[in-house]
Symmetry: C2
Subunit: 250 residues, 2 copies
């Protein structure tokens, strides 16, 4: 138990797409712990004890504390004053909630971007669309899902609304996505991907010709489809696996 497990990342190449590699120690701890939670090595509802974590990671309690705050912000742990930190159970309901909030924010982003599009972001979005179209027949579903998420984030960028962008990134850093991407995304058949790619392209075109209504409508369809399919898959998974506790306690 006294073995320092943390390996400090010496160099950190900044991510070009808005997601930053961890720099400070607390961020690295948050990353590690978050990964543990996602991987299921830390069970839902489990209590996290600062001293234990500190010893496992080979640091003192200070940085661990800050890491826990970071994870609280990402909704991975719940922090009760004086009563400790617990890993947050993810109910199906809360996942649906997350999808809906993302939907609302993304539509605002699309609407705003379509009102006053900025060329550079339009270009980036166009690249993402091209990628999506290329991946309709080939490529694995996870990659397709990731690019979709990136495209949505590009739209958040393009909105020019800094608060909106921040919230979107926060939501994208949420546990759920990693969880989803770890599930078999069989539902992303070529037909489904075709439709998604088309809708994204439609959104792009609408943005280009400054047509907020169409942009919002297309993106809404795309994201609603995504939501329904992902939720169905997750519901199935949970029914099969023994993760029922998490549902009940969420």
């Amino acid at each position: 138990m006294a073995a320092p497990v943390l390996k400090l990342a010496a160099t950190n190449d900044g991510d070009a797409d808005g997601r930053f590699s961890p720099r400070t120690i607390p961020e690295q701890l948050a990353e590690e712990l978050g990964a543990d939670i996602v991987a299921g090595r830390r069970k839902a509802g489990e209590r996290l004890i600062e001293l234990d974590l500190a010893q496992n990671f080979g640091v003192s309690r200070g940085p661990v504390r800050e890491a826990l705050r970071i994870l609280e912000r990402r909704r991975m742990v719940e922090l009760l004053p004086r009563r400790g930190a617990y890993v947050r159970p993810l109910s199906l309901k809360s996942i649906a909630d997350l999808f809906n909030v993302r939907l609302a924010l993304s539509l605002l982003a699309a609407q705003t971007m379509a009102t006053a599009p900025v060329e550079s972001y339009v270009e980036t979005l166009a690249r993402r669309c091209a990628e999506l179209n290329d991946m309709v027949e080939t490529g694995d579903p996870i990659a397709f899902a990731r690019v979709t998420t990136r495209a949505v984030r590009t739209i958040a960028h393009g909105s020019g609304n800094a608060l909106l962008l921040e919230l979107s990134i926060d939501l994208a850093n949420q546990t759920v996505w990693e969880t989803i991407w770890k599930t078999p995304l069989d539902y992303l058949t070529p037909e489904v991907r075709r439709e998604a790619a088309d809708l994204m392209t439609e959104t792009l075109d609408a943005i280009r010709r400054r047509d907020p209504e169409t942009a919002v409508r297309s993106l809404r369809l795309l994201l609603e489809n995504d939501r329904e399919r992902a939720l169905a898959v997750l519901a199935d998974l949970r029914k099969e696996a023994g993760d029922l506790r998490a549902i009940a306690s969420g």
Copy 2:
């Protein structure tokens, strides 16, 4: 400089409306500091030095650190790793952004609530509507604005979307509102209040009869009006006062 300024609140009656009084020391510090920022005693862009704050408040740097994280979450300060904490300038643009995000989230809340209304929240919202209607002719504008905000929060509650509610509360705890409520809200004339109260009542009615579209449409009108008028007032204020730096640097 060695005078302990912080007076610990002995008892804290929990707020019945979702906003909690500060309990822990970091939260109290965040409250104090936040108030200072809103009051303008801490200027936009000013650097906040942990040791100074700690000495002023009569505590050590640990709690101050956590208070700064809390304020970072509320977007009152910006935290640059290894480079200190700065009070965040509030540009008109960022205020507009805030309004727009609140708008999007509130509309999602209204839509969701209207899909499956829960009686208790509908009742609460009805009470708020009654209050608003009572305040059309009498009462000061600030009170009217506050009740409006509360009604919106009730809708967030009524959505049953925990994430949405959390975000809404976070946004409501933002500096801006306090700032706005400190400005002369002359634009809230009886006519304007009449319209706002009517729209809120329309929203309530639509929720009651499970008519999401109307609910969304009414609330959108209400909040868009609010946004336009508030932004106009703020723009005027900034033009008059010497707060131009904040605009430029935001």
